[in-house]
């Protein structure tokens, strides 16, 4: 093995604290049974943020419409459970597959053009799907949302309980599996080629990386994972409504990722935890106007530089 391959292999190994942190996370529904609903909610958003990180942090595609895939996954999972089969894992697989197909189709639209074009196209797709879900009310329930989704037990044994412990476990396990998968993906040659494309598409092309094929592949993967997150959300809450496609959702997840830091897998998880904590703190204090403080936080964060949020020792320095 060459020294380069060795150093790459060393990078790919999970650190000890990652195992420890996951062990703690998996025990959370035990330790805080009264907060199980919140835990599963945060876990699902963390998964969603991780999927966005794959295209934003690793591949450099700015998307304002990632909720399109979240929403597609949510509606697919809800409809599948309602009309075809209530098994959660089967439904989740179907949700992932359907959004993967959608992602593959949409990936054609983000290959060319500037950041603005990509912003517009991704936002447009999300709005389009929201409009579609609104108008196809005989299938989706329109503005009232899709109600009456009853899920079967996970693996045929674990029933969803009212406290939400099963839901939290289920979401945590799926997210852990995705995390492990992504850990392999981003440290693989494929992952490194993505970072090359992010840093300089022209040079990536010049050294023989097929930029378009790689971007399509990663966009499809990210879409499928966002679909899983959406599917989890629909399955654990038994409900899917139009706001799964909303602009707010796409903007929020972008913010979470920025809080946690783009381009590393824990970014989405940390961001989701911090964002949700902030949300519940501020909205307990001023429920109606919490977006003002969110906006102020965003503006300040961007003015001071988002890289510095994660590096407190640089706060005193001037840029």
């Amino acid at each position: 093995m060459s020294s380069a391959a060795k150093s790459l292999a060393a990078l790919a190994k999970p650190r000890w604290w990652e195992f420890a942190l996951w062990a703690v996370l998996l025990c959370l529904p035990f330790g805080l049974p009264s907060h199980a609903l919140l835990i599963s909610e945060i876990t699902i958003i963390a998964l969603f943020a991780m999927s966005l990180d794959l295209i934003l942090g690793y591949s450099g595609i700015v998307s304002l419409g990632h909720a399109a895939f979240f929403g597609m996954g949510a509606y697919t999972a809800a409809l599948f459970a309602k009309h075809i089969n209530p098994d959660p894992l089967l439904g989740l697989a179907v949700a992932g597959a359907v959004t993967a197909v959608l992602g593959a189709v949409c990936s054609l639209s983000v290959l060319r053009g500037s950041d603005l074009t990509r912003l517009m196209v991704t936002l447009g797709v999300a709005l389009l799907l929201q409009e579609l879900a609104n108008k196809l009310d005989f299938i989706t329930g329109g503005a009232d949302g899709l109600q009456g989704v009853v899920m079967g037990p996970v693996l045929g044994r674990f029933e969803f309980d009212l406290l939400g412990q099963t839901a939290a476990w289920y979401a945590l396990c799926v997210t852990l599996l995705v995390f492990l998968l992504l850990h392999q993906v981003v440290q693989s040659p494929f992952g490194f080629s993505l970072k090359t494309i992010r840093d300089n598409p022209l040079r990536a092309q010049a050294i023989g990386i097929s930029v378009h094929a790689r971007l399509m592949a990663v966009y499809t993967l990210a879409a499928a994972l966002a679909g899983l997150a959406g599917g989890l959300q629909a399955q654990t809450t038994g409900f899917a409504s139009l706001d799964v496609f909303g602009f707010d959702r796409s903007a929020d997840v972008l913010l979470m990722l920025v809080i946690g830091g783009t381009g590393w897998l824990w970014g989405g998880i940390i961001g989701a935890v911090v964002f949700k904590t902030l949300h519940s703190l501020i909205s307990a204090w001023t429920p109606q106007y919490w977006t003002f403080w969110l906006g102020l936080f965003l503006v300040l964060l961007m003015l001071l530089g988002r890289e510095r949020l994660l590096r407190p020792w640089t706060w005193g320095r001037r840029t």
Partner: protein, 287 residues
Amino acid sequence: MLTILFDGVAYGMLLFILAIGLAVTLGLMNFINLAHGAFAMAGGYITVLFMQHAGLPFLLCVPLAFVFTAVLGALLEVTLYRRMYNKPHLDQVLFSIGLTFMAVAGVDYFVGSTQQLVQLPEFLKGRTELWDGALGMGHYRLAIIAVCAALTVALQLLLVRTRFGAQLRAAVDNQRVAAGMGIDVNRVFLITFAVGSGLAGLGGALGAEVLGLDPVFPMKFMIYFLIVVAVGGTSGLTGPLLAALLLGIADVAGKYYIPKLGAFIVYSLMIIILMWRPQGLFSRGSK
């Protein structure tokens, strides 16, 4: 049929005035300003508040809206926006989303979330029917078209005939060379940003009656402004103007003939156009 075309043109002209500031900011500073709609909303609210509380006539309030939002834009440019020009697009997007959130919540807090109504003066309220009703023209929409057309001509003259216009075009084409030739690029940026914001405010004031005015205005119309800019390109006034007219007519016609599909047509058209020509429909081609 003609009536729909007429309404579409009025709507499109309004969108053009609202979005032109955004096109300039984007072309000049390469800054993606999602908060542009907030300036338009500010213009609308300034008009409403002056009319309701100070009792000023509508015709006086509209220029006031321009002045106030231009000053607001200039202040924000100097204090906040200037620091963001060299940051990545992601930062700019999040920064301007943050500003939008603040504007929405702020207006909600101070004015309330209800829809605001604008009392038009009597002489703008009528409607003229031509050719046995084949073409019905609301007087107010006629006035909008006239004002917007006049503004467009004025802007074009400003851009092509004046010294400032030449400086602006030079700065858009190549900032560094322009600065090297002794053009004070920062000043050009500041004036352009202020005028662009002012125009958005003016559009917001004029459009309050047509588009509706409530705190979520910047979110609701953000996509429309962006469409005008993305489809029209940023290299001149003609592109955004044609894009705005196309969007206005497509939207009005779509909502009238196929109300079931609603905004569907506009979004799909936009995606197709941007996939076909990512640099915009009327741009000079890729740089």
